[in-house]
Symmetry: C2
Subunit: 465 residues, 2 copies
Amino acid sequence: MSTTGPETQTTEAPVDSEEGYGLSTDVVYAVEDALADKDSDEVRALVSNLHEADLADLIESLPRDARQSLIEVLGVGIEADVLPHLGAAVREEVIDQLGPQRLARLLSRLDSDDGVEVFADLDEEFQHRILSALPRAYRQILEESLSYPEDSAGRLMQREVVVVPSAWTLGETIDYMRAAEDLPDDFYDLYIVDPRHHPIGFIPLSRALRTRRPVRLTEIMETDMKVVPLAMDQEEVAYLFRQYGLVSAPVVDEGGRLVGVITVDDVVDIVSEEAEEDIMKLAGVQETDIYSAMLDTAKSRFPWLVVNLVTAIFASVVIGMFEVTISQIVALAVLMPIVASMGGNAGTQTLTVTVRAIAVKDLTDANAARFVGKELLVGAVNGLLFAALAGLVAWLWFGSPDIGMIIAAAMIVNMIVAGLAGTLVPLGLERMGVDPAVASSVFVTTVTDVVGFFAFLGMAAVFLV
Amino acid sequence: MSTTGPETQTTEAPVDSEEGYGLSTDVVYAVEDALADKDSDEVRALVSNLHEADLADLIESLPRDARQSLIEVLGVGIEADVLPHLGAAVREEVIDQLGPQRLARLLSRLDSDDGVEVFADLDEEFQHRILSALPRAYRQILEESLSYPEDSAGRLMQREVVVVPSAWTLGETIDYMRAAEDLPDDFYDLYIVDPRHHPIGFIPLSRALRTRRPVRLTEIMETDMKVVPLAMDQEEVAYLFRQYGLVSAPVVDEGGRLVGVITVDDVVDIVSEEAEEDIMKLAGVQETDIYSAMLDTAKSRFPWLVVNLVTAIFASVVIGMFEVTISQIVALAVLMPIVASMGGNAGTQTLTVTVRAIAVKDLTDANAARFVGKELLVGAVNGLLFAALAGLVAWLWFGSPDIGMIIAAAMIVNMIVAGLAGTLVPLGLERMGVDPAVASSVFVTTVTDVVGFFAFLGMAAVFLV
């Protein structure tokens, strides 16, 4: 028709804008509108090009009614791969709506590790109803995976592994791989096993591709290999991958036999889950799922608030010990939250650093004492500075140098205590086998509240009244 | 010598215990002892088998003097790969000790992305002294990488990519890879480019290995490819990898030409860094490095504490408005921290969930209104429950049903306000382009403190006095 210079030549647009990735809000609104119009063809058209992860986001972000209409429209046409991408609350809703028969059909299309993830979250009765509808081989895989503890390598691993005997050459290996039907879709390393099926080394695919056919596998394999036992906790697995920059790692049973493989894409999810859990625990939140029902959310927040009420009352009891003092100098009631609040903040800062340093294994027995000493000094230095500031403010406000001196002294005490409590509480909990992220925060702020009120009001009672 | 049954056969012990991974505290102490004894051979022997990541951990966890002796003993014999594993504070110390000449020698042994990471953190004068000691080609790579914004894809990417023209067969590709000298050590995908060097598809290595030589690359390549522009922020890159389960992604310049590749191992680090940053920011901590010098740490915590002092004084001013009321009923001073504290905790819970939901893109314009409404209801439900509890406690404690009623009413108000502030503040900051993790916490607790004190004391002033 016309000449086409290289400038006008179209290729599959390689430079997407950043906004081009992920689910766009426009699509959400368009689907909502189409659902409201009961235009099923339009809905299917809008959804057809979405990646399964984006479709999962769409399902999650719709209001409940629209979500149910969407699942109805998609029916079993829904991609099985969407299920693992859904958060627990919405996934449960979707699964209830699908029912056991349709779910079983979807489940059997998933890889073993994804299938286990979805299946494990179901309640027991539902599990039984689905099991009977599943193919026998898949059922066995599910049952075995579920026999491993939650959050263990056994649950995480994929059973489909590329395993080759140590006697083979690379050529034999390639011929086998071309012929084999049941290999996993994606893999990154070949594992070489001895006759007892123990892994003795691995070959990265990039190396295999560059090697000539007659070369023996044992000549080019890496033997410095990190092996994961079935029972290893996922947090430990994630540490291993991060520390050593692994892409995949073999999983072995108690007898040392290779039974599966964990790949780095699973680890990316764990790393973010574990950090997420620490954030939430530090704030006293149990769920990470913004789609939980309102009452479930309120219930999950309740226990932490109860603990906080008890500690707040405890702090009030301390204040109550000085009722007489306060009635004589009301300025004390006005100023006392400042000391407690500064201690609480300084304590939370120290605590957060400590909890994370423990989590990423930066803080160990070898350097704990030095770390505590440093944080104590940090508390003392900032304590001095804020003692001067708060003292000055109190003096100017109430025209009393005495009150200024006392708030300053209380501030120094409380900031040092904050540094000590912020390090010693999580280290102590860790040593007692308690997760420091869960419980530290409440202990530390209780300590800084009580010490803050007691030091300030106590000194006032002794020196001012 | 003797018969060896399969039971006694030794293989490279495949099942390490969990404790076998990572740096053991025993090694740290042994190295400290050997350094104290000035036994350099022993030190080198102890260190020789450590993975570079574990050696970095060892260097970090030694006291400063021992650290310097260790670097002296290792000298240029130190593995270059240790440097990227060191945290910023200790790395600076080590680099100062090595000096520019020795550092330049180490740097030139690193992959371009690792080299850039180490180099970018140096101060400018040091950078200049090192540049002149580096090979010209390496220098150009460093200078170009540094021209991209910090935390951008351009900084993260590795320049060594396996690129093949679309006209080739798999056989031609394999022959090229066997002959090429400058391929990266590890890669996971082959990128196919058109004549203008635009990426048009990729082939996972596992697929390449299973394909016969005469097959054309264009027949087996995937065209649904996520392309990363040079300027994309690393947080966005991490989102892309997580959302779509990528192992590697091509990086393109403004003209759409392939210039590098980002691999999943870098993304694992980013995911944990970004979550880490959010944890630290929520607690008002700027550094994540427990090895910073004491005064640096104190200084980095200072600004947040100043902000907290200002807001604490602001809350005190609110209390000061009710001095007369408090002087008449001292019980108010005793009880008032309970209302503020419960509001602060509930607000922090909501805030944390909101900040993370924004960070992982679960919370968007499409569902924000519903989310705020839900959190408001959560606040109201828990507000009612804790109003009853706190009211009962106050009544029993001070024998006054009136004080009980007033603390209950104030509690309901403050818990609802906590739900609103915990969602609206981070959503508002996000819309204004401010990172909600940094500033939300202080706003929300100021709101709950002020509302808590004002509601409780205000109602007391109106109804009790």
